[in-house]
């Protein structure tokens, strides 16, 4: 890349506001998670460990906050001083929100985290120098740093456990940041297949590991550009627009409410994950 190239194509190398010049043409991967279906069973989290070569750090390192759960289940209580949590818990699967205007992308000194053309927030391990600025700037704190050299010195996968490692993606060594990739290895494989066959990926053809296992089917994942994709229909039905930071429906006073919302939307990160609010029966 020469300086001339850099200067002439400057706008291409800059992070654009999502609603500006570059709409997604073929793909925009997005997710929706129905919190009313999520039971907090942790299956997605384990699937993520299996698919993405996440190290099990052990008790001591977990205690120090060095865990690597790209998909973490948060559990909230809403019992404001009542004697019992008598409406149960609120479970929230939290993963990288693949923001369209990701705070992490602008601050990485080496450009190790980028936005891809299909709307993913990429993390390139081999480019990462470990400044951890991306994590500092991530309001969701879904980026996980390799504080130790898990594969070698920490021996997290003792023989023959290492044979389980997924060869489709790297095992990260110390000093690099990592995070949920929307199972990019699966996406790329199916996109390549589709490309070879001269078409686009069909809805349901590719699943993320968490979506695939979810026993209640709370997670929907797909291409937001594809009008036949379930995820797009959900977003549309819930009137959640990817490119705005304040959904007009939230201001409307209506009897029947829509459940879709995005977390910390007001920070203008334009997340690609929509959550559907949990429901509780009022009759009991």
């Amino acid at each position: 890349m020469s300086i001339t190239n850099l200067l002439t194509n400057w706008s291409d190398f800059r992070q654009q506001h999502p609603s500006a010049a570059h709409p997604h043409r073929e793909y925009k991967w997005a997710m929706s998670i129905d919190l009313d279906s999520c039971t907090g069973c942790n299956a997605c989290s384990v699937a993520c460990y299996a698919e993405n070569n996440l190290p099990v750090v052990g008790k001591e390192k977990f205690a120090h906050g060095h865990s690597h759960h790209w998909m973490r289940i948060e559990r909230y209580w809403d019992n404001d001083g009542r004697e019992f949590a008598d409406q149960g818990a609120q479970f929230l699967p939290m993963l990288c929100q693949h923001c369209e205007s990701a705070p992490c992308e602008t601050v990485c000194p080496v450009g190790a985290t980028n936005h891809t053309a299909d709307g993913l927030n990429s993390q390139v391990y081999n480019r990462c120098v470990g400044s951890r600025y991306c994590n500092a700037n991530c309001p969701y704190k879904v980026r996980y740093f390799n504080w130790y050299n898990y594969p070698t010195t920490e021996n997290v996968w003792p023989e023959p456990m290492n044979q389980q490692l997924n060869p489709d993606l790297s095992v990260r060594s110390k000093g690099v940041m990592e995070k949920c990739t929307f199972c990019v290895q699966r996406l790329r494989a199916s996109m390549n297949d589709a490309r070879t066959q001269g078409r686009l990926v069909i809805d349901g053809e590719v699943q993320t590991a968490c979506q695939q296992v979810c026993p209640t089917g709370a997670i929907t994942f797909g291409n937001l550009v594809d009008p036949s994709a379930k995820v797009g229909k959900q977003w549309k039905q819930q009137q959640v627009d990817l490119n705005i930071d304040k959904q007009p429906k939230d201001a409307e006073e209506k009897a029947a409410k829509l459940r879709g919302y995005r977390i910390l939307e007001e920070l203008r990160t334009y997340p690609s994950v929509m959550y559907l609010e949990q429901l509780r029966e009022s009759a009991v």
Binding site: R132, A136, N146, W147, K174, L264
Partner: protein, 454 residues
């Protein structure tokens, strides 16, 4: 009335006094040098451990990714600002009193920058790939991300470091020539000969020298302001509650000048005592310095209050929560210590009797810097501990000994550099002191002096 620099001091005397500081050191010097080396040893050992084992040994974690390294980095960067302030700004303002003290202040600038630069490296998870941050044509065809404040940092620090080295060096050339002429053999002779670049004191040389020095000074002032503004933008440009504050750049610059001035007071007292520079580093100078420090302290306090007020009356509830947490949570003792050392303690400096009381000033100036270091820490850690996302809050994080060791060692590194400098280069500018004396004499001769009529 305290004694100021004597008008009748002979130029040869000045040379003699200053050059004396370059003579073989006393035993105490070696002792301190060894202590400094030991401190560096601690840091190097810690860094080797951290480098080989992984960043985890510093006891940072996923919700608390930055800690003392960045805090201390800002501290050292900040400290570097006073040298520029004293040399460049006061030079342009023709404040003569800076002349006996600016040399070591400049040296301090350079060395604290060098220390700060190390912290950037120590902080990186993959130090061995640090060259990715630099823009150079490479086989990967990849540039760094020019949007990132860290890349700006890299540029700012590199520019500032090279400029301040140049400024220090250019300003030393006439003095190096004096050294060269007063020493007759040995490595020093060779060193001074080369470094004085053939200075003969001709009119043409003086003229070129003046212009060069003035140009660099003019260049340095905006640079210095921009450097700390850029460092401030590391924080202000992010969206962390507690960081996302518009007033951060001036706040950082003020803090920088503040800690720098305090450090100059400390070093002033040490050098004056160690090298018997009472003749040059006089109390009236100290008085001016102290008043300057007091003024900056108040500016800093004001900007601090502005920050709090804008957060308090702003509509960002998260930032407000964060502020309350800082003042009441587990970091409260450090927060209030920072307020005390940074805003209350300097009120002492307003009293005349303290302005020249060196032992008290020595202690106070060190405490001011402790306060300023705490300020940096209080910017970093509480924000991470209590950010946007309650699930990942971490109120228990405490830096490990590895972090403390490296922070501790950085002071040894700075001391080492400074001590070596003092023994190799004149820490008081001889030619500028001469100028000062000359101007004073002139001023005395023409009683109703007209400004600029030299």
């Amino acid at each position: 009335m305290e004694k100021d620099i004597r008008e009748d001091i002979a130029w040869a005397q000045i040379n003699k006094d200053v050059l004396k500081s370059l003579e073989s050191p006393r035993r105490l010097y070696w002792v301190i040098l060894l202590i400094a080396l030991a401190m560096i040893g601690v840091a190097v050992g810690s860094e080797i451990y951290q480098y080989t084992t992984g960043m985890g040994v510093s006891n940072k974690n996923n919700s608390h990714v930055w800690s003392l390294y960045i805090a201390t980095f800002i501290f050292w960067i900040g400290m570097s600002h006073s040298g520029t302030l004293l040399s460049a700004i006061l030079h342009l303002m023709h404040a003569d009193w800076r002349k006996p003290i600016y040399r070591f202040a400049e040296a301090m600038t350079t060395f604290s920058l060098m220390t700060a630069g190390l912290f950037v490296m120590v902080h990186l998870g993959r130090l061995w790939q640090v060259y990715y941050v630099m823009p150079y044509p490479n086989e990967r065809w990849v540039w760094p991300n020019f949007q990132s404040p860290l890349v700006w940092d890299m540029f700012a620090i590199a520019t500032y470091l090279s400029s301040s080295v140049l400024f220090l060096y250019v300003g030393m050339i006439p003095d190096l020539a004096i050294c060269r002429d007063n020493i007759h053999a040995g490595w020093r002779k060779k060193l001074y000969t080369i470094m004085s670049l053939g200075w003969e004191g001709t009119d043409r040389q003086w003229r070129n020298f003046r212009i060069t020095y003035l140009t660099i000074a003019c260049f340095l002032i905006p640079l210095a302001v921009s450097v700390h503004s850029i460092v401030a933008s590391d924080f202000a440009m992010s969206n962390m509650p507690g960081w996302h504050v518009t007033s951060f750049p001036p706040y950082f610059v003020a803090g920088a000048l503040y800690s720098g001035c305090a450090a100059i007071i400390t070093l002033f007292i040490i050098l004056r005592y160690v090298f018997r520079f009472e003749e040059y580093m006089t109390l009236p100078i100290m008085k001016k310095l102290v008043r300057l420090t007091f003024a900056i302290a108040m500016v800093w306090t004001y900007l601090n209050l502005i920050e709090f007020a804008s957060v308090w009356y702003g509509h960002d509830q998260t930032a407000k929560d964060q502020l309350i947490f800082k003042a009441t949570g587990p970091y409260a003792p450090y927060f209030w210590a920072m307020i005390f050392f940074g805003s209350i303690l300097p009120l002492m400096l307003a009293f005349k009797r303290f302005q020249t009381h060196l032992p008290i000033l020595f202690v106070v100036s060190i405490l001011l810097n402790v306060g300023m270091w705490l300020e940096r820490w209080m910017i970093i850690s509480p924000s991470f501990a209590h950010g946007h996302y309650p699930w990942t809050w971490d109120h228990d994080q405490w830096p490990s000994l590895v972090q403390w060791g490296i922070v501790f060692g950085s002071f040894g590194w700075f001391t080492l550099l400074f001590m070596v400098f003092c023994k190799v280069f004149p820490s008081v500018s001889m030619y500028e002191v001469k100028e000062m004396v000359y101007h004073r004499t002139l001023a005395l001769k023409h009683k109703p002096a007209v400004k600029g009529d030299y």
